[in-house]
Symmetry: D2
Subunit: 138 residues, 4 copies
Protein backbone atom coordinates (compact mmCIF):
# COMPACT_ATOMS: atom_id res chain seq x y z
CA UNK A 1 0.00 0.00 0.00
CA UNK A 2 1.01 3.58 -0.58
CA UNK A 3 3.47 5.22 1.76
CA UNK A 4 5.57 8.34 1.87
CA UNK A 5 8.27 9.92 3.97
CA UNK A 6 9.87 13.28 4.45
CA UNK A 7 12.54 14.79 6.67
CA UNK A 8 12.72 18.15 8.32
CA UNK A 9 14.43 19.98 11.15
CA UNK A 10 12.61 20.93 14.36
CA UNK A 11 12.35 24.72 14.48
CA UNK A 12 12.98 26.89 17.54
CA UNK A 13 9.38 28.07 17.57
CA UNK A 14 8.01 24.53 17.51
CA UNK A 15 9.51 23.85 20.94
CA UNK A 16 8.16 24.73 24.36
CA UNK A 17 9.91 26.16 27.42
CA UNK A 18 11.13 22.61 28.26
CA UNK A 19 13.04 22.71 24.96
CA UNK A 20 11.14 19.77 23.45
CA UNK A 21 8.66 19.81 20.58
CA UNK A 22 5.33 21.24 21.69
CA UNK A 23 3.19 18.16 21.31
CA UNK A 24 0.34 19.50 19.10
CA UNK A 25 2.92 20.13 16.38
CA UNK A 26 3.05 16.38 15.72
CA UNK A 27 -0.60 16.47 14.68
CA UNK A 28 0.13 19.38 12.37
CA UNK A 29 2.94 17.34 10.83
CA UNK A 30 0.69 14.27 10.52
CA UNK A 31 -1.82 16.41 8.66
CA UNK A 32 0.86 17.73 6.31
CA UNK A 33 1.94 14.11 5.75
CA UNK A 34 -1.56 13.07 4.74
CA UNK A 35 -1.64 15.82 2.12
CA UNK A 36 1.86 14.79 0.97
CA UNK A 37 0.61 11.20 0.65
CA UNK A 38 -2.24 12.40 -1.55
CA UNK A 39 0.24 14.40 -3.63
CA UNK A 40 2.44 11.32 -4.03
CA UNK A 41 -0.62 9.55 -5.46
CA UNK A 42 -1.15 12.41 -7.91
CA UNK A 43 -4.16 13.59 -5.93
CA UNK A 44 -5.09 16.59 -3.80
CA UNK A 45 -7.97 17.16 -1.41
CA UNK A 46 -8.88 20.20 -3.50
CA UNK A 47 -9.20 18.14 -6.68
CA UNK A 48 -11.15 15.40 -4.86
CA UNK A 49 -13.59 18.00 -3.53
CA UNK A 50 -14.02 19.45 -7.03
CA UNK A 51 -14.34 16.12 -8.85
CA UNK A 52 -16.39 14.09 -6.37
CA UNK A 53 -18.34 16.75 -4.50
CA UNK A 54 -17.02 15.54 -1.16
CA UNK A 55 -16.93 17.88 1.80
CA UNK A 56 -13.62 16.69 3.25
CA UNK A 57 -11.76 13.81 4.86
CA UNK A 58 -11.85 14.70 8.57
CA UNK A 59 -9.97 12.75 11.22
CA UNK A 60 -12.18 10.51 13.34
CA UNK A 61 -9.51 8.84 15.44
CA UNK A 62 -5.89 9.22 16.53
CA UNK A 63 -4.05 6.74 18.74
CA UNK A 64 -0.60 8.11 19.38
CA UNK A 65 2.33 7.15 21.58
CA UNK A 66 5.29 9.40 22.33
CA UNK A 67 8.32 7.25 23.00
CA UNK A 68 11.28 9.61 22.90
CA UNK A 69 11.66 13.39 22.97
CA UNK A 70 12.45 15.55 19.96
CA UNK A 71 14.30 18.81 20.50
CA UNK A 72 15.04 22.06 18.74
CA UNK A 73 17.39 21.34 15.83
CA UNK A 74 16.71 17.59 15.69
CA UNK A 75 16.26 16.08 12.24
CA UNK A 76 13.00 14.14 12.12
CA UNK A 77 11.77 11.71 9.50
CA UNK A 78 8.03 11.07 9.22
CA UNK A 79 6.90 7.93 7.44
CA UNK A 80 3.19 7.76 6.63
CA UNK A 81 1.50 4.78 5.06
CA UNK A 82 -1.97 3.47 4.34
CA UNK A 83 -2.83 0.70 6.81
CA UNK A 84 -6.34 -0.30 5.73
CA UNK A 85 -9.17 0.85 3.48
CA UNK A 86 -12.81 0.77 4.53
CA UNK A 87 -15.84 1.64 2.44
CA UNK A 88 -16.06 5.27 3.62
CA UNK A 89 -12.84 5.55 5.65
CA UNK A 90 -9.16 4.73 5.66
CA UNK A 91 -6.54 3.99 8.32
CA UNK A 92 -3.07 5.48 8.17
CA UNK A 93 0.01 4.82 10.20
CA UNK A 94 2.60 7.49 11.03
CA UNK A 95 6.01 6.83 12.48
CA UNK A 96 8.38 9.64 13.44
CA UNK A 97 12.07 8.78 13.69
CA UNK A 98 14.61 10.94 15.46
CA UNK A 99 18.16 10.00 14.46
CA UNK A 100 16.99 6.48 13.66
CA UNK A 101 15.04 6.01 16.90
CA UNK A 102 11.26 5.65 16.78
CA UNK A 103 10.09 8.73 18.67
CA UNK A 104 6.35 8.84 17.95
CA UNK A 105 3.85 6.53 16.36
CA UNK A 106 0.26 7.25 15.52
CA UNK A 107 -2.65 5.35 14.01
CA UNK A 108 -5.07 7.70 12.28
CA UNK A 109 -8.48 7.10 10.79
CA UNK A 110 -10.14 9.52 8.40
CA UNK A 111 -13.61 9.35 6.94
CA UNK A 112 -14.84 10.74 3.66
CA UNK A 113 -17.84 13.03 4.13
CA UNK A 114 -20.28 14.83 1.87
CA UNK A 115 -23.24 17.09 2.43
CA UNK A 116 -26.50 15.18 2.48
CA UNK A 117 -29.07 17.71 1.20
CA UNK A 118 -31.97 15.70 2.69
CA UNK A 119 -30.37 15.76 6.15
CA UNK A 120 -28.97 19.26 5.82
CA UNK A 121 -25.64 18.09 7.24
CA UNK A 122 -22.54 16.14 6.19
CA UNK A 123 -22.42 12.36 6.50
CA UNK A 124 -20.03 9.55 5.57
CA UNK A 125 -19.91 8.52 1.93
CA UNK A 126 -17.93 6.04 -0.20
CA UNK A 127 -14.29 6.84 -0.75
CA UNK A 128 -13.68 8.51 -4.11
CA UNK A 129 -12.67 5.81 -6.61
CA UNK A 130 -9.37 7.52 -7.42
CA UNK A 131 -8.42 7.71 -3.75
CA UNK A 132 -9.36 4.09 -3.06
CA UNK A 133 -7.35 2.98 -6.08
CA UNK A 134 -4.29 5.09 -5.26
CA UNK A 135 -4.28 4.18 -1.58
CA UNK A 136 -5.13 0.52 -2.06
CA UNK A 137 -2.53 -0.06 -4.70
CA UNK A 138 -4.87 -2.83 -5.83
Amino acid sequence: MLSNQHSFTVEFGQCDPSGIVYNPNFFIWFDHSVHALLARAGLSLKALIDEYGIDGIPVVEYKSRFLAPARWGDQLLIETGVAKLHRCAFDLHHRVFNAGTLAVECAETRVCTALDPALGRVKARDLPAKLAEAFGGG
Copy 2:
Protein backbone atom coordinates in the same frame (compact mmCIF):
# COMPACT_ATOMS: atom_id res chain seq x y z
CA MET B 1 -14.57 55.27 18.65
CA LEU B 2 -15.20 51.66 19.56
CA SER B 3 -12.67 49.83 21.69
CA ASN B 4 -12.48 46.62 23.62
CA GLN B 5 -10.18 44.84 26.02
CA HIS B 6 -9.69 41.39 27.43
CA SER B 7 -7.26 39.70 29.79
CA PHE B 8 -5.75 36.26 29.66
CA THR B 9 -2.83 34.24 30.99
CA VAL B 10 0.13 33.26 28.79
CA GLU B 11 0.05 29.48 28.37
CA PHE B 12 3.06 27.17 28.58
CA GLY B 13 2.65 26.14 24.94
CA GLN B 14 2.61 29.74 23.73
CA CYS B 15 6.21 30.21 24.89
CA ASP B 16 9.42 29.25 23.15
CA PRO B 17 12.59 27.65 24.52
CA SER B 18 13.70 31.10 25.77
CA GLY B 19 10.62 31.05 28.02
CA ILE B 20 9.05 34.12 26.41
CA VAL B 21 5.94 34.30 24.25
CA TYR B 22 6.63 32.97 20.76
CA ASN B 23 6.17 36.16 18.81
CA PRO B 24 3.61 35.03 16.16
CA ASN B 25 1.13 34.40 18.98
CA PHE B 26 0.67 38.15 19.33
CA PHE B 27 -0.74 38.26 15.82
CA ILE B 28 -3.11 35.41 16.66
CA TRP B 29 -4.24 37.40 19.71
CA PHE B 30 -4.65 40.58 17.62
CA ASP B 31 -6.87 38.63 15.24
CA HIS B 32 -8.98 37.29 18.11
CA SER B 33 -9.26 40.87 19.38
CA VAL B 34 -10.58 42.09 16.05
CA HIS B 35 -13.33 39.47 16.15
CA ALA B 36 -14.05 40.38 19.79
CA LEU B 37 -14.33 44.02 18.74
CA LEU B 38 -16.88 43.05 16.08
CA ALA B 39 -18.77 41.02 18.69
CA ARG B 40 -18.81 44.01 21.03
CA ALA B 41 -20.47 45.98 18.23
CA GLY B 42 -23.08 43.25 17.85
CA LEU B 43 -21.48 42.12 14.58
CA SER B 44 -19.59 39.09 13.31
CA LEU B 45 -17.55 38.55 10.18
CA LYS B 46 -19.85 35.64 9.38
CA ALA B 47 -22.96 37.83 9.49
CA LEU B 48 -21.23 40.58 7.45
CA ILE B 49 -20.30 38.04 4.79
CA ASP B 50 -23.87 36.75 4.67
CA GLU B 51 -25.57 40.16 4.70
CA TYR B 52 -23.23 42.19 2.47
CA GLY B 53 -21.69 39.53 0.23
CA ILE B 54 -18.18 40.56 1.22
CA ASP B 55 -15.33 38.09 0.92
CA GLY B 56 -13.50 39.09 4.09
CA ILE B 57 -11.57 41.81 5.89
CA PRO B 58 -7.94 40.77 5.35
CA VAL B 59 -5.02 42.53 7.02
CA VAL B 60 -3.05 44.77 4.69
CA GLU B 61 -0.60 46.25 7.18
CA TYR B 62 0.84 45.66 10.64
CA LYS B 63 3.33 47.96 12.34
CA SER B 64 4.28 46.43 15.64
CA ARG B 65 6.81 47.18 18.35
CA PHE B 66 7.78 44.78 21.12
CA LEU B 67 8.84 46.78 24.16
CA ALA B 68 8.97 44.29 27.01
CA PRO B 69 8.91 40.50 27.23
CA ALA B 70 5.91 38.42 28.24
CA ARG B 71 6.50 35.06 29.90
CA TRP B 72 4.69 31.85 30.70
CA GLY B 73 2.07 32.58 33.38
CA ASP B 74 2.02 36.35 32.85
CA GLN B 75 -1.39 38.01 32.83
CA LEU B 76 -1.76 40.10 29.69
CA LEU B 77 -4.38 42.68 28.84
CA ILE B 78 -5.03 43.50 25.17
CA GLU B 79 -6.79 46.75 24.37
CA THR B 80 -7.97 47.11 20.79
CA GLY B 81 -9.58 50.22 19.39
CA VAL B 82 -10.61 51.71 16.08
CA ALA B 83 -8.12 54.42 15.07
CA LYS B 84 -9.51 55.61 11.74
CA LEU B 85 -12.09 54.67 9.14
CA HIS B 86 -11.43 54.88 5.39
CA ARG B 87 -13.88 54.23 2.56
CA CYS B 88 -12.89 50.57 2.10
CA ALA B 89 -10.54 50.07 5.04
CA PHE B 90 -10.11 50.71 8.75
CA ASP B 91 -7.17 51.23 11.09
CA LEU B 92 -7.01 49.59 14.48
CA HIS B 93 -4.64 50.05 17.35
CA HIS B 94 -3.65 47.25 19.72
CA ARG B 95 -1.83 47.68 23.00
CA VAL B 96 -0.75 44.75 25.14
CA PHE B 97 -0.07 45.45 28.80
CA ASN B 98 1.87 43.10 31.07
CA ALA B 99 1.29 43.93 34.74
CA GLY B 100 0.52 47.52 33.79
CA THR B 101 3.55 47.95 31.52
CA LEU B 102 3.05 48.47 27.80
CA ALA B 103 4.67 45.37 26.31
CA VAL B 104 3.56 45.45 22.66
CA GLU B 105 1.82 47.94 20.44
CA CYS B 106 0.58 47.40 16.93
CA ALA B 107 -1.16 49.48 14.29
CA GLU B 108 -3.22 47.31 11.97
CA THR B 109 -5.05 48.10 8.77
CA ARG B 110 -7.68 45.87 7.27
CA VAL B 111 -9.50 46.25 4.00
CA CYS B 112 -12.94 45.04 3.07
CA THR B 113 -12.91 42.87 -0.05
CA ALA B 114 -15.48 41.29 -2.31
CA LEU B 115 -15.35 39.14 -5.39
CA ASP B 116 -15.55 41.18 -8.57
CA PRO B 117 -17.22 38.84 -11.08
CA ALA B 118 -15.95 40.90 -14.04
CA LEU B 119 -12.33 40.64 -12.84
CA GLY B 120 -12.69 37.09 -11.53
CA ARG B 121 -10.88 38.07 -8.32
CA VAL B 122 -11.49 39.91 -5.07
CA LYS B 123 -11.00 43.66 -4.82
CA ALA B 124 -11.56 46.39 -2.25
CA ARG B 125 -15.11 47.55 -1.69
CA ASP B 126 -16.91 50.02 0.59
CA LEU B 127 -17.11 49.10 4.25
CA PRO B 128 -20.46 47.54 5.14
CA ALA B 129 -22.71 50.29 6.53
CA LYS B 130 -23.25 48.47 9.82
CA LEU B 131 -19.51 48.09 10.36
CA ALA B 132 -18.77 51.73 9.51
CA GLU B 133 -21.51 52.87 11.87
CA ALA B 134 -20.46 50.59 14.73
CA PHE B 135 -16.77 51.37 14.38
CA GLY B 136 -17.19 55.08 13.73
CA GLY B 137 -19.50 55.69 16.63
CA GLY B 138 -20.73 58.64 14.58
Copy 3:
Protein backbone atom coordinates in the same frame (compact mmCIF):
# COMPACT_ATOMS: atom_id res chain seq x y z
CA MET C 1 -10.91 12.70 41.56
CA LEU C 2 -10.11 16.22 40.46
CA SER C 3 -11.80 17.62 37.39
CA ASN C 4 -12.22 20.96 35.74
CA GLN C 5 -14.14 22.53 32.87
CA HIS C 6 -14.07 25.69 30.84
CA SER C 7 -16.00 27.12 27.92
CA PHE C 8 -14.81 29.15 24.99
CA THR C 9 -15.78 30.14 21.48
CA VAL C 10 -14.10 28.68 18.38
CA GLU C 11 -12.15 31.48 16.70
CA PHE C 12 -12.06 32.16 12.96
CA GLY C 13 -8.33 31.44 12.81
CA GLN C 14 -8.72 28.07 14.51
CA CYS C 15 -10.73 26.77 11.55
CA ASP C 16 -9.51 25.40 8.26
CA PRO C 17 -10.75 25.99 4.72
CA SER C 18 -13.54 23.42 5.35
CA GLY C 19 -14.83 25.77 8.06
CA ILE C 20 -14.31 23.24 10.87
CA VAL C 21 -11.78 23.37 13.71
CA TYR C 22 -8.32 22.50 12.46
CA ASN C 23 -7.78 19.29 14.34
CA PRO C 24 -4.41 19.98 16.07
CA ASN C 25 -6.10 22.81 17.97
CA PHE C 26 -7.85 20.21 20.13
CA PHE C 27 -4.48 19.06 21.41
CA ILE C 28 -3.54 22.67 22.19
CA TRP C 29 -6.79 22.99 24.13
CA PHE C 30 -6.16 19.70 25.95
CA ASP C 31 -2.77 21.03 27.00
CA HIS C 32 -4.30 24.28 28.25
CA SER C 33 -6.83 22.17 30.18
CA VAL C 34 -4.09 20.21 31.90
CA HIS C 35 -2.50 23.43 33.10
CA ALA C 36 -5.93 24.70 34.20
CA LEU C 37 -6.43 21.47 36.15
CA LEU C 38 -3.12 22.04 37.92
CA ALA C 39 -4.17 25.62 38.68
CA ARG C 40 -7.47 24.38 40.11
CA ALA C 41 -5.43 22.21 42.47
CA GLY C 42 -3.40 25.25 43.51
CA LEU C 43 -0.39 23.97 41.55
CA SER C 44 1.56 24.98 38.47
CA LEU C 45 4.09 23.10 36.39
CA LYS C 46 6.50 25.96 37.07
CA ALA C 47 6.19 25.55 40.85
CA LEU C 48 6.49 21.74 40.59
CA ILE C 49 9.68 22.12 38.55
CA ASP C 50 11.10 24.53 41.12
CA GLU C 51 10.07 22.57 44.20
CA TYR C 52 10.69 18.99 43.08
CA GLY C 53 13.41 19.40 40.47
CA ILE C 54 11.33 17.61 37.83
CA ASP C 55 11.98 18.23 34.17
CA GLY C 56 8.36 18.19 33.03
CA ILE C 57 5.22 16.09 32.59
CA PRO C 58 5.32 15.18 28.89
CA VAL C 59 2.49 13.37 27.13
CA VAL C 60 3.20 9.72 26.42
CA GLU C 61 -0.16 8.73 24.96
CA TYR C 62 -3.30 10.21 23.42
CA LYS C 63 -6.28 8.17 22.30
CA SER C 64 -8.79 10.53 20.76
CA ARG C 65 -12.05 10.18 18.88
CA PHE C 66 -13.73 12.95 16.92
CA LEU C 67 -17.47 12.35 16.92
CA ALA C 68 -18.99 15.60 15.67
CA PRO C 69 -17.62 18.68 13.96
CA ALA C 70 -17.00 22.02 15.67
CA ARG C 71 -17.22 25.17 13.60
CA TRP C 72 -16.21 28.81 13.70
CA GLY C 73 -18.30 30.55 16.37
CA ASP C 74 -19.38 27.38 18.18
CA GLN C 75 -19.29 27.46 21.95
CA LEU C 76 -17.28 24.50 23.25
CA LEU C 77 -17.02 23.17 26.77
CA ILE C 78 -13.97 21.08 27.69
CA GLU C 79 -14.21 18.87 30.76
CA THR C 80 -10.92 17.40 31.95
CA GLY C 81 -10.60 14.98 34.82
CA VAL C 82 -8.05 12.67 36.40
CA ALA C 83 -8.82 9.07 35.47
CA LYS C 84 -6.06 7.15 37.23
CA LEU C 85 -2.80 7.72 39.06
CA HIS C 86 0.28 5.55 38.54
CA ARG C 87 3.58 5.74 40.38
CA CYS C 88 5.30 7.99 37.82
CA ALA C 89 2.37 8.80 35.52
CA PHE C 90 -1.27 9.84 35.45
CA ASP C 91 -4.20 9.33 33.11
CA LEU C 92 -6.58 12.12 32.22
CA HIS C 93 -9.84 12.14 30.35
CA HIS C 94 -11.00 15.03 28.18
CA ARG C 95 -14.47 15.47 26.79
CA VAL C 96 -15.39 18.33 24.47
CA PHE C 97 -19.06 19.22 24.22
CA ASN C 98 -20.53 21.32 21.43
CA ALA C 99 -23.98 22.61 22.35
CA GLY C 100 -24.47 19.67 24.70
CA THR C 101 -23.30 17.04 22.19
CA LEU C 102 -20.12 15.10 22.87
CA ALA C 103 -17.87 16.17 19.98
CA VAL C 104 -14.44 14.86 20.98
CA GLU C 105 -13.12 12.59 23.66
CA CYS C 106 -9.52 11.89 24.50
CA ALA C 107 -7.65 9.72 26.99
CA GLU C 108 -4.25 11.20 27.79
CA THR C 109 -1.33 9.82 29.77
CA ARG C 110 1.49 11.97 31.06
CA VAL C 111 4.62 10.89 32.83
CA CYS C 112 6.71 12.81 35.30
CA THR C 113 10.35 13.04 34.24
CA ALA C 114 13.57 14.29 35.78
CA LEU C 115 17.15 14.47 34.64
CA ASP C 116 19.15 11.46 35.76
CA PRO C 117 22.70 12.82 36.12
CA ALA C 118 24.19 9.31 35.95
CA LEU C 119 22.42 8.60 32.64
CA GLY C 120 22.83 12.12 31.29
CA ARG C 121 19.19 12.11 30.17
CA VAL C 122 15.68 12.46 31.58
CA LYS C 123 13.82 9.41 32.89
CA ALA C 124 10.54 8.71 34.69
CA ARG C 125 10.37 9.49 38.37
CA ASP C 126 7.72 9.35 41.11
CA LEU C 127 4.91 11.87 40.88
CA PRO C 128 5.51 14.89 43.13
CA ALA C 129 3.65 14.31 46.41
CA LYS C 130 1.59 17.49 46.04
CA LEU C 131 0.45 16.50 42.57
CA ALA C 132 -0.44 12.94 43.60
CA GLU C 133 -2.39 14.27 46.56
CA ALA C 134 -4.23 16.96 44.60
CA PHE C 135 -5.04 14.67 41.67
CA GLY C 136 -5.91 11.63 43.79
CA GLY C 137 -8.24 13.46 46.07
CA GLY C 138 -7.46 10.64 48.54
Copy 4:
Protein backbone atom coordinates in the same frame (compact mmCIF):
# COMPACT_ATOMS: atom_id res chain seq x y z
CA MET D 1 25.03 41.42 2.85
CA LEU D 2 23.88 37.92 3.63
CA SER D 3 20.58 36.73 2.24
CA ASN D 4 18.75 33.46 1.86
CA GLN D 5 15.64 32.09 0.20
CA HIS D 6 13.50 29.02 0.36
CA SER D 7 10.32 27.78 -1.29
CA PHE D 8 7.44 25.83 0.12
CA THR D 9 3.81 25.00 -0.52
CA VAL D 10 0.98 26.52 1.52
CA GLU D 11 -0.62 23.72 3.53
CA PHE D 12 -4.36 23.17 4.00
CA GLY D 13 -4.07 23.73 7.74
CA GLN D 14 -2.28 27.06 7.30
CA CYS D 15 -5.36 28.56 5.66
CA ASP D 16 -8.44 30.01 7.28
CA PRO D 17 -12.12 29.61 6.41
CA SER D 18 -11.68 32.27 3.68
CA GLY D 19 -9.22 29.89 2.03
CA ILE D 20 -6.26 32.26 2.33
CA VAL D 21 -3.19 31.91 4.53
CA TYR D 22 -4.03 32.68 8.14
CA ASN D 23 -1.96 35.79 8.61
CA PRO D 24 0.07 34.88 11.74
CA ASN D 25 1.66 32.05 9.73
CA PHE D 26 3.73 34.63 7.87
CA PHE D 27 5.43 35.59 11.14
CA ILE D 28 6.13 31.91 11.85
CA TRP D 29 7.70 31.66 8.40
CA PHE D 30 9.74 34.84 8.96
CA ASP D 31 11.06 33.33 12.16
CA HIS D 32 12.01 30.10 10.39
CA SER D 33 13.75 32.24 7.76
CA VAL D 34 15.83 34.03 10.36
CA HIS D 35 17.06 30.68 11.69
CA ALA D 36 17.72 29.52 8.13
CA LEU D 37 19.75 32.69 7.54
CA LEU D 38 21.83 31.91 10.63
CA ALA D 39 22.32 28.35 9.37
CA ARG D 40 23.43 29.67 5.99
CA ALA D 41 26.09 31.66 7.84
CA GLY D 42 27.20 28.49 9.64
CA LEU D 43 25.63 29.73 12.87
CA SER D 44 22.74 28.76 15.10
CA LEU D 45 21.02 30.60 17.91
CA LYS D 46 21.82 27.62 20.12
CA ALA D 47 25.55 27.89 19.43
CA LEU D 48 25.49 31.68 19.90
CA ILE D 49 23.79 31.26 23.27
CA ASP D 50 26.39 28.68 24.31
CA GLU D 51 29.43 30.57 23.03
CA TYR D 52 28.52 34.15 23.90
CA GLY D 53 26.21 33.73 26.87
CA ILE D 54 23.45 35.71 25.16
CA ASP D 55 19.85 35.21 26.18
CA GLY D 56 18.33 35.45 22.71
CA ILE D 57 17.67 37.69 19.71
CA PRO D 58 14.04 38.75 20.25
CA VAL D 59 12.08 40.74 17.69
CA VAL D 60 11.62 44.39 18.61
CA GLU D 61 9.84 45.58 15.46
CA TYR D 62 7.93 44.31 12.45
CA LYS D 63 6.59 46.51 9.68
CA SER D 64 4.69 44.32 7.27
CA ARG D 65 2.50 44.89 4.24
CA PHE D 66 0.25 42.27 2.68
CA LEU D 67 -0.12 43.02 -1.01
CA ALA D 68 -1.66 39.90 -2.53
CA PRO D 69 -3.35 36.82 -1.10
CA ALA D 70 -1.74 33.40 -0.81
CA ARG D 71 -3.96 30.35 -0.92
CA TRP D 72 -3.89 26.68 -0.07
CA GLY D 73 -1.54 24.92 -2.49
CA ASP D 74 0.27 28.07 -3.65
CA GLN D 75 4.04 27.83 -3.97
CA LEU D 76 5.64 30.64 -1.98
CA LEU D 77 9.24 31.82 -2.04
CA ILE D 78 10.57 33.74 0.97
CA GLU D 79 13.68 35.83 0.50
CA THR D 80 15.28 37.11 3.69
CA GLY D 81 18.27 39.42 3.79
CA VAL D 82 20.21 41.53 6.24
CA ALA D 83 19.35 45.21 5.72
CA LYS D 84 21.48 46.94 8.35
CA LEU D 85 23.60 46.15 11.38
CA HIS D 86 23.52 48.21 14.58
CA ARG D 87 25.69 47.80 17.65
CA CYS D 88 23.22 45.59 19.54
CA ALA D 89 20.60 44.99 16.85
CA PHE D 90 20.10 44.11 13.19
CA ASP D 91 17.49 44.85 10.56
CA LEU D 92 16.23 42.18 8.18
CA HIS D 93 14.04 42.37 5.15
CA HIS D 94 11.64 39.61 4.12
CA ARG D 95 9.87 39.39 0.80
CA VAL D 96 7.35 36.67 0.01
CA PHE D 97 6.66 35.95 -3.65
CA ASN D 98 3.64 34.04 -4.89
CA ALA D 99 4.15 32.85 -8.47
CA GLY D 100 6.56 35.72 -9.08
CA THR D 101 4.32 38.40 -7.55
CA LEU D 102 5.41 40.18 -4.38
CA ALA D 103 2.71 39.11 -1.89
CA VAL D 104 4.13 40.23 1.46
CA GLU D 105 7.03 42.35 2.58
CA CYS D 106 8.27 42.85 6.09
CA ALA D 107 11.03 44.83 7.76
CA GLU D 108 12.12 43.18 11.00
CA THR D 109 14.46 44.36 13.74
CA ARG D 110 15.94 42.04 16.32
CA VAL D 111 18.07 42.92 19.29
CA CYS D 112 20.67 40.82 21.01
CA THR D 113 19.97 40.47 24.74
CA ALA D 114 21.78 39.01 27.73
CA LEU D 115 21.03 38.73 31.40
CA ASP D 116 22.49 41.60 33.38
CA PRO D 117 23.16 40.09 36.83
CA ALA D 118 23.30 43.53 38.45
CA LEU D 119 19.87 44.44 37.09
CA GLY D 120 18.42 40.97 37.50
CA ARG D 121 16.90 41.16 34.01
CA VAL D 122 17.93 40.92 30.36
CA LYS D 123 19.17 43.98 28.48
CA ALA D 124 20.62 44.74 25.06
CA ARG D 125 24.24 43.82 24.45
CA ASP D 126 26.69 43.98 21.55
CA LEU D 127 26.05 41.60 18.68
CA PRO D 128 28.21 38.47 18.92
CA ALA D 129 31.31 39.00 16.75
CA LYS D 130 30.59 35.92 14.62
CA LEU D 131 27.05 37.09 13.91
CA ALA D 132 28.16 40.65 13.05
CA GLU D 133 30.83 39.28 10.73
CA ALA D 134 28.57 36.75 9.02
CA PHE D 135 25.67 39.19 8.61
CA GLY D 136 27.80 42.15 7.65
CA GLY D 137 29.78 40.36 5.03
CA GLY D 138 32.49 42.90 5.87
